[in-house]
Symmetry: C2
Subunit: 366 residues, 2 copies
């Protein structure tokens, strides 16, 4: 059953006549076509008992047909009124659907009002955002294959990046080297801005790659990811430059133990909150609890902001196919920051990471 | 008067008690603080007669204070209920505001429902999106200075990119060279994915930089931009590789004439639609009208999707401070594509471009 059929089944179960799907990530998930229409209108209309259609800016119509979309696609020009046209197509294909599902988590208020205007007899009360988030949370084999491929390129980026590290070189120059090497291999887009932070700068987990230069005897944090056919990778490693003092070594080893222990504990049956606690307890027991200031992990797949969220208070039980990061960190202001992260997918017996770069403490330049 | 005071004045004129500002670009415009909170809540609350406050994820609070924001900022943790906290802060600072303005163009339906729940006596009928878009449309001197600086880096990128062109080299490899050079100068982020398209590939204006290799005797299209302190550049040039035939030269010269004539005509008093027509008439008269398949230009500033839109049907009269692209293009499927683009700001007497790379036909490698 295709994902589109699955959603159609859910629509029927919820006694809806139609669904207006507007989140570009959902459209990509259901159709294989991705485009960010920015201020223009892109929508997938699904019916309980008619074939669906895509509605898109005219410029996108050829690209949609090229993806193998086998149902109708209707385009509109900039000077046309998109919601009037949508209503015409809906009436023609499916009469006058009354109960609609919408994505309340991404549909904007003005567009809901436009829908209410062109469908004055309809109700838009049902929120499909949670349903779709739940569907997207369990990845198929095909999706996991793409995530593995994206992971390989993150491993490649680490290798290039670590070997580009030199004392006196800026974080930005290292990031430039690493992204240049990826582009030489046709990987043109990172899944987020590559983060390289050296020394005390790494203690700001919301900082950015800067002109800050690598110094002797410090830790350097890398957090990066690539995109492969719409699926991302996201991984972090922290390496040593020169020789480290005892405290630097200690925070590395504590963070590593937390990461490895949590990764070993990730399996069907444990809850997201319990998994967070596995890592957090190790860091807290070692005396660094106050420096681990974020959740253990986030769901990922087509983006790095999906479900499940691995954090305190989330009693969701992990299941095969769920994909998320395991990324404990210790950030001591003015001193240093360590983060070690793999994203994994839950299997029937445990979990498998998408990235395989060694997590043992490595020193560069070698 | 600050932009924040300006909006407060507008709120008073519209007899509103408060405004809930949620678009990160608007918050950046009004406060100087930019962050994309993704699934978390970031809001600026403005009152008709009390001081405003920012509400943000706890991790962002220090960064906000660092920007010089002089009013209160309240943080929240992942396991807290943001809208309950927002209501508490509002009640404490300003009692029980009834008439609220919201940004209907960006606020999602679920968040409006959250606001309606925590403020059951309030009305959220007024849409501030058009008001704010209008404010943002007229750029200040300070904003124009940043746009000029971003433009300089686009000129630099053209210079590097043109000199990186070789027969047999891929579009992607040229883009990699150009972005690497920018990173060496601390310019880490492009305002959009750099577009380089060689030969017939340039006839797909919605295509992407690919592994397609530059061949002898073709046109190569560059469309690129950088970001400087939150303001972008966006410019296109088309160059020749080897020697061109008459038709290639002709579409270049027609496109150039359209671009130069429109840029000379851009001044206070002309409408957006009239300006589009200036360029379109030249291309149509030369017999290529059917190949100019998009509007003449888009507004720009902090992003490349602002107002005014320079297109048929937009009777907006241009005013000093408006910033937009002038980018005629001719795309002949299977043959070649040309686009020549500067972004400009309207002055009291005409317009000034942000980019200055020569628009005469240049041949590379030199």
């Amino acid at each position: 059953m295709t994902k589109l059929n699955q959603l159609q089944t859910i629509i029927n179960e919820q006694h809806l006549d139609a669904a207006y799907i507007s989140n570009p990530m959902t459209i990509n998930y259901l159709t294989g076509f991705y485009s960010d229409p920015v201020e223009r209108v892109l929508a997938l209309i699904i019916f309980s008992d008619h074939e669906p259609f895509l509605f898109a800016p005219a410029l996108e119509v050829e690209a949609i047909k090229g993806t193998g979309w086998s149902f109708p696609v209707y385009g509109y020009l900039d000077h046309e009124h998109p919601f009037d046209l949508i209503a015409d197509h809906v009436h023609q294909l499916a009469g006058n659907p009354v109960n609609w599902g919408i994505e309340k988590g991404s549909l904007t208020v003005d567009r809901l009002q436009s829908l209410e205007q062109v469908f004055p007899d309809a109700h838009f009360n049902t929120d499909l955002t949670p349903t779709i988030e739940k569907m997207r949370m369990i990845k198929s084999e095909d999706e996991i294959a793409k995530l593995n491929e994206a992971g390989k390129w993150a491993d490649f980026a680490f290798e290039v990046g670590f070997n580009a590290v030199e004392v006196g070189k800026s974080e930005q120059a290292i990031a430039a080297d690493l992204e240049y090497a990826l582009k030489q291999h046709g990987i043109n887009k990172m899944s987020f801005d590559t983060l390289i932070q050296a020394g005390p700068h790494a203690a700001e987990p919301h900082g950015a790659t800067s002109g800050n230069k690598v110094k002797e005897n410090e830790l350097v944090l890398f957090d990066l990811g690539t995109i492969f056919e719409g699926y991302i990778s996201d991984a972090s490693r922290t390496i040593a430059v020169g020789s480290l003092n005892e405290k630097q070594k200690d925070i590395y080893q504590v963070c590593l133990e937390a990461q490895l222990t949590a990764q070993a504990a990730a399996k069907p049956g444990i809850t997201a909150a319990e998994l967070d606690k596995v890592a957090r307890d190790i860091i807290t027991k070692a005396g660094y609890g106050e420096y681990f200031i974020h959740r253990l992990g986030h769901g990922m797949g087509s983006s790095e902001h999906e479900f499940p969220s691995i954090m305190e208070g989330n009693d969701l039980v992990l299941e095969p196919g769920m994909c998320f990061s395991i990324e404990p960190g210790i950030y001591i202001p003015g001193f240093a920051g360590v983060r070690i992260e793999d994203c994994v997918h839950i299997t029937t017996t445990g979990c498998e990471p998408f990235t395989h770069t060694s997590k043992e403490l490595q020193t560069f330049p070698k």
